[in-house]
Symmetry: C2
DNA sequence: GTTCGTGCAAACGGTTTGCAACAAT
DNA sequence: ATTGTTGCAAACCGTTTGCACGAAC
C-alpha cells in the first residue's frame, strides 16, 4: 500500500515521478499498456516524460513489482498482481480480467518430455454471461 | 498441402503473391510475425509489397486458415496449426512451440461464475531440458 | 468498364534511444 | 566530481492506410 516504502524496499530510489508511475500501475486493475500508464500518470502529473514512464515500468518489472504480459496484440500490458493467476479476455470489450489460481486446475505441465516448465497460466477467451 | 486448392476451397482467389504468402505462413512452424512472413516471402519473391502480405495474412485469418496469436510482446504472431493446442515459450530462445492438446488437461473453465469461455489454452514458459 | 488485387509511400501507434540539463550524494 | 534521474525530441519497429496503376472477368 505504501508506495514509498515499496519502492525503497525494492531498492528503487523514490522520486516523485516514480511514485506517480508506480502508484498508477499498482492501483490499476485494468492491465494497462505502457502508453495507458503514461496517459494516466500525465493527468496527475503533466510534466512527466514518456521516457521516465517507460524507464520506471522496466524498473518495476525488473524488480518484480509488476509483471509484463503478452495478452493484447501489439502492446505490452502490465499486471499489478504478481501472484500466479490466470486470465480471461472478454471478446466484446477486450477487457482482461484476472482469474484466481484455484478456479482452474491444470495437470500435465510437469510431464512434458524435454521441457522444464517454470511457470504457466491459462488464457481464456469468451464473454461475460448476461445476468 | 496443395496451397492452390486450399485457397480456392476457402474462397480466396489465388494469385502468385497470395500463394507465396500462404505457402510460407502455412509451412512455417515457427510462429512468425507478419514482418517475418514479409521478409521470408520477399526472399522467394522480392517484388511483393508489405501491404499485400498484410492483406493476405488478414484474409487467411478471416477464412480460418491460420490463427493470429498474442504470444510475443508487441507483435502479432501467426500459427498455421488451427486445431486447438497449447503453447510453450522457451525462456532462452523465445521460440514458441506447439504443445498437443492432450498433453495437458485443464478443468474448471466451464464453471467460472458469470463467464462463458469460448476457447482457452495453456501458455507455458520455461526451458528445454538439456539431454 | 467495373471489380479486385497489387505496389509504393506515407502515416500511424507504441516503444526505444541519444543527449543535454539537472538533481543528489 | 561522479553518479543517477529527468525531459525532450528524434528514431525506430511493426502495422495500417490512401491511392493510383494494373490485371481479370
Amino acid at each position: 500500500m505504501d508506495i514509498l516504502g515499496l519502492l525503497r524496499s525494492h531498492g528503487i530510489q523514490p522520486t516523485p515521478q516514480r511514485m506517480a508511475v508506480a502508484g498508477f500501475a499498482i492501483d490499476s486493475r485494468n492491465h494497462p499498456s505502457a502508453e495507458e500508464v503514461y496517459l494516466g500518470v500525465r493527468e496527475a502529473c503533466p510534466t512527466v516524460s514518456r521516457a521516465t514512464v517507460y524507464n520506471t515500468l522496466h524498473l518495476l518489472v525488473e524488480r518484480g513489482l509488476v509483471r509484463q504480459l503478452a495478452l493484447r496484440e501489439g502492446v505490452c500490458v502490465y499486471d499489478s498482481q504478481t501472484a500466479p493467476h490466470h486470465h480471461f479476455i472478454d471478446d466484446d470489450t477486450g477487457r482482461i480480467e484476472d482469474v484466481p489460481w484455484d478456479a482452474v486446475s491444470v495437470t500435465g505441465t510437469d510431464t512434458l518430455q524435454g521441457i522444464d516448465v517454470r511457470e504457466f497460466q491459462v488464457v481464456m477467451r469468451g464473454r461475460r454471461r448476461p445476468r
